[in-house]
Symmetry: C2
Subunit: 341 residues, 2 copies
């Protein structure tokens, strides 16, 4: 799994884990997926699949979601390759996925086509360029549902206009620690963006990881939305770095970083919840230079040791204790490797 | 401090940390200490001091308690060299202490003389022999308050008779884990013994360390009480070892052992409460052979890193965070040394 995009430590990788651009598109000849039979969905999917078969430099694998085991489906969601909604079993759904998993196109999710392009680190421009290229290619081969006044027509009216969501995944442990996130959320909301815990909709973000995304798709160009996202991202990164400087002087916080390393290098049972929390600390410890931990290793553990992904990996339904023991073992091994570099 | 008796790993040191015999004696020519003026106490103390000045092979240092800093006084109590009551500041109290701290004689505590003899590991006979030797020597030089029918006269009637308390300090993590202690407490109570948390009078014993001691001093010989204690101690040790065998199969418990080691080798702040709890786990890990930890190291950390002892050691009143940071540093250093053996 180490050749996947999300293992890399990209530009501004100390804070920006990844960048993603998602475009929602619909074919004008078909009703929205919620009104389609499974057969009609299949026709939509094949149309898009055929249209993208010859796109330059992007090899896509066609996957019928119904053909996958439940573990593989949830694993795709765990790695943000599909939306949680898309993981719900229903006929007619399909996925186009590139080998490095940097491009994933959901077919017959809420809209007919949801093009996702993802890059490690701070790279909204790169992600946008790839999504745009796929969009242009598809646009030449199929007839999009488009209205001069409303822009791209989408099932949900909040996506009308550009139908684009650009987002970055941010690691904000220092701002979380200082309880600044909710204040920042209010600020970015006025600027047409939204920040929220990446893994759960609740208040506390698992592992201090947040998604910052544009909320406005209407009356703003794709370019304008991307530039806006980039600018706010860099401002948040500056604040986070300043807060981290202060945290390095905080002996209680540094204690937590060292303890997290002690636990992960020693424990024999680690749940995914605890792992996510501890990885947040040791990621920071590696960046601070006080722990022998590479950011890539944290990315890899975080991506590969979520429950369904672990099950999918060995095609087994491990019970939780078995998985927790295996997770602990893999973490210890990987961190020991890092300590020898 | 490493030449002190309590650092050693004695006989049955996997379970029995130490053995102690305490004899209460009073001089017939004086009222009990509670009725004495400070001057009269001083006279008692000097009488005993002089009487023991020439005892063969036992060098005793005379310490007026009022001359010690509060930290040094509490440190003596932390190491069980004096009773908690004796640590309360009051004029007239004095201590006779051997260099290795294996003999400590409290003067004008509840009784005029409280002879304590302590050995590492399972050694009630050895502890008794030393206490007995001091008692015999003193008996020749002073006139004890003794009654043919009541035995040694003590301030508190529960000590009448032999006026002897023989006890062992036991590490019982496996029996604690299985909640067997309260059942065992009921059983040993019927046999004239008492088991209780060594460091606090509450229900949960700090670091799973318990004191088993004889309760009956009347109608039983010193020898009979010692033999009784020895027999019950060995039975408890057998049960504890059986419970440990089972625990070694318990992955959740082994996880705790490894985590404790991870925390102690990593943390930057460790309170004495946390240390006591974690030491209990790593002591066991060392005995199980899964951690590179010597029992002597655990004994030393446990003895030297209690709050007042740390303060007394450098003659400073460190605040809690400073002490916790220093404690963490010393623990890391000592455990690293062990890991290289």
């Amino acid at each position: 799994m180490s050749n996947k995009w999300y293992i890399e430590n990209g530009n501004q990788g100390d804070i920006v884990l990844s960048s993603r651009v998602r475009l929602a598109r619909n074919l004008s000849d078909y009703p929205f997926p919620c009104r389609l039979s499974a057969d009609a969905m299949e026709a939509v999917n094949q149309t898009v699949r055929d249209a993208l078969a010859d796109i330059d430099g992007i090899q896509l694998r066609y996957i019928k979601m119904a053909d996958l085991t439940a573990n593989r489906v949830i694993s795709l969601a765990e790695r943000h390759l599909i939306s949680p909604a898309f993981a719900e079993i229903a006929p007619g759904k399909a996925l186009l996925l590139s080998d490095d998993e940097a491009v994933s196109i959901m077919l017959c999710e809420e809209d007919h086509v949801r093009i996702q392009s993802m890059y490690a680190g701070f790279a909204p421009d790169e992600a946008h360029a790839v999504a745009d290229k796929i969009d242009d290619h598809l646009d030449k081969k199929v007839k999009y549902a488009f209205d001069e006044r409303l822009g791209y027509l989408t099932q949900h009216p909040t996506n009308l206009g550009t139908a684009m969501r650009a987002s970055v995944l941010l690691h904000l442990p220092a701002l979380s620690q200082n309880f600044e996130i909710s204040r920042l959320a209010a600020t970015v909301s006025k600027l047409g963006l939204k920040i929220s815990g990446a893994f759960d909709e609740g208040h506390s973000a698992k592992g201090d990881i947040y998604r910052l995304s544009n909320q406005v798709t209407f009356g703003i160009s794709e370019r304008g939305a991307i530039e806006n996202l980039k600018s706010i991202t860099l401002q948040l990164a500056t604040r986070e770095r300043a807060a981290r400087e202060e945290l390095q002087q905080n002996v209680n916080f540094m204690d937590k970083i060292h303890r997290a390393y002690g636990i992960l290098t020693s424990a024999r049972m680690v749940t995914s919840e605890e792992m996510n929390e501890m990885l947040s600390y040791i990621r920071l410890g590696g960046i601070f230079g006080v722990l022998p931990v590479r950011t890539e290793t944290v990315n890899e553990l975080s991506a590969t040791l979520q429950p369904a992904t672990m099950n999918a990996d060995i095609d087994e339904n491990m019970d939780a204790p078995t998985r927790d023991a295996r997770r602990a073992e893999i973490i210890r091994k990987k961190l020991e490797e890092d300590s020898k570099i």
